[in-house]
């Protein structure tokens, strides 16, 4: 049975570096992906993810399993990402929301090798369309969607990361998904005639 995050962190606290490596392996991809969606820069996302792990390591001696490890981890990541966005904005270097994705960003996303080129291009265009819609969301909404949709955190956990109430979070998520529904209407829009109300409700559930 896999050891829990808390267990691994407590072992790291006791000086077991192999346990920290396991945490690193477990969370590097979700963290880099999360940070990339927030700061919209692959290099900065990697740097920030490294900084998150470094801070976790530095704090190992003071670690107390009072909250979920992921809440703590993504709280650090969120703070760092928001600071980065603030700094970038301050330097007037923020990328335009409408700008196409940079080449290095696309290189990081690996397509399946068996796909045809035209199919890959179509999928890339579609992915760019979806990505630009997500990235155009306000910061807090974007973070909420990332944690809800991609990290599958529960509402209580996301509310702790964003330091808001659960009801405020539900409203925030609704506004974010409503914006995405409108922005991505060509992809999500239904035909004129509506299907039966019972069809598709549960099919789209995340869990």
């Amino acid at each position: 049975m896999a050891r829990s995050d808390v267990q691994l962190m407590l072992e790291t606290k006791d000086g077991n570096s192999a346990s920290f490596d396991l945490l690193l392996q477990r969370y590097r991809t979700p963290l880099v992906n999360f940070l990339y969606r927030i700061v919209r820069d692959s290099g900065a996302a990697e740097d920030l993810a490294q900084e998150v792990f470094l801070r976790v390591y530095r704090a190992r001696d003071r670690y107390a399993p009072s909250a979920k490890f992921t809440t703590w981890l993504f709280r650090i990541a969120t703070n760092l990402a928001l600071n980065k966005i603030r700094d970038t904005r301050h330097q007037k270097m923020e990328l335009s929301l409408d700008a196409p994705a940079k080449e290095d960003e696309q290189v990081m996303e690996l397509p399946a090798p068996e796909k045809r080129v035209d199919q890959m291009m179509l999928e890339r265009d579609r992915a760019d369309f979806i990505r630009s819609a997500v990235e155009a969301l306000p910061e807090k909404q974007r973070i909420a969607v990332m944690l809800h949709k991609y990290e599958e955190m529960d509402y209580q956990e996301i509310a702790k990361v964003l330091q808001c109430s659960e009801s405020a979070l539900k409203s925030l998520l609704f506004r974010a998904y409503e914006t995405l529904r409108v922005q991505l209407a060509p992809l999500v829009g239904l035909p004129a005639q509506n299907s039966d109300v019972t069809v598709g409700f549960r099919k789209g559930r995340l869990s």
Binding site: F20, Q50, F53, P111, Y150, E178, L187, L190, F201, G204
Partner: protein
């Protein structure tokens, strides 16, 4: 447990925040009942719910970004470059506190450096002043005592020392010149 809504007459706006928990399976029983009863009668919300459901599928298409192959190596490098926690290791997680303490220490040192001589002068001046006052008080009795002052006339009768010869003065004054 009550959910977001308690009223039976839930409108479209009131139901909106429960649509996402309903789709991700985390709605309370109350929220679930309200959403289902509302969308059964509201075509607009029914459509919206279906579009949300499709939106979740569309968002799944977004490929995750993979960390670079050197990611782990760079994290380990940064960790190994961390200074070992020593006596002041507890200050490392609180750089602002460390900086504030350093500034305060420097400020006190600087103030001490420039204020100490001033304080010494003040003390010396105060000592001198008090000595003068003491002498004045001490001599006050003598100056007011006529008998004593009268007796001082005897001092005027002291023999006046003979003036030194001029040559001797000159010799003394020009001594350096001769050398």
């Amino acid at each position: 447990m009550k959910g977001l809504f308690s009223s039976e007459n839930v409108n479209c706006q009131g139901i909106s925040a429960a649509l996402i928990p309903y789709l991700d399976g985390r709605a309370t029983v109350n929220e679930q009942t309200l959403v289902e009863s509302h969308v059964a009668e509201c075509p607009a919300c029914r459509t919206r719910l279906q579009e949300f459901s499709r939106l979740f599928g569309v968002l799944d298409e977004l490929p995750p970004m993979q960390p670079s192959p050197s990611f782990d190596v760079r994290v380990r490098q940064r960790i190994s470059a961390e200074p070992a926690a020593g006596w002041f290791g507890w200050l490392l997680p609180a750089p602002r506190l460390a900086f504030s303490l350093a500034v305060l220490l420097g400020l006190f040192t600087w103030m001490g450096k420039f204020q100490s001589p001033g304080m010494d002068n003040t003390g010396a001046t105060a000592t001198t002043q008090s000595e003068q006052d003491f002498r004045a008080i001490r001599d006050l009795g003598v100056l007011e005592n006529y008998d004593v002052l009268k007796g001082f006339d005897a001092l005027s009768e002291l023999p006046v020392p003979p003036p030194r010869p001029a040559t001797e003065d000159q010799d003394n004054g020009d001594g350096g010149g001769q050398l």
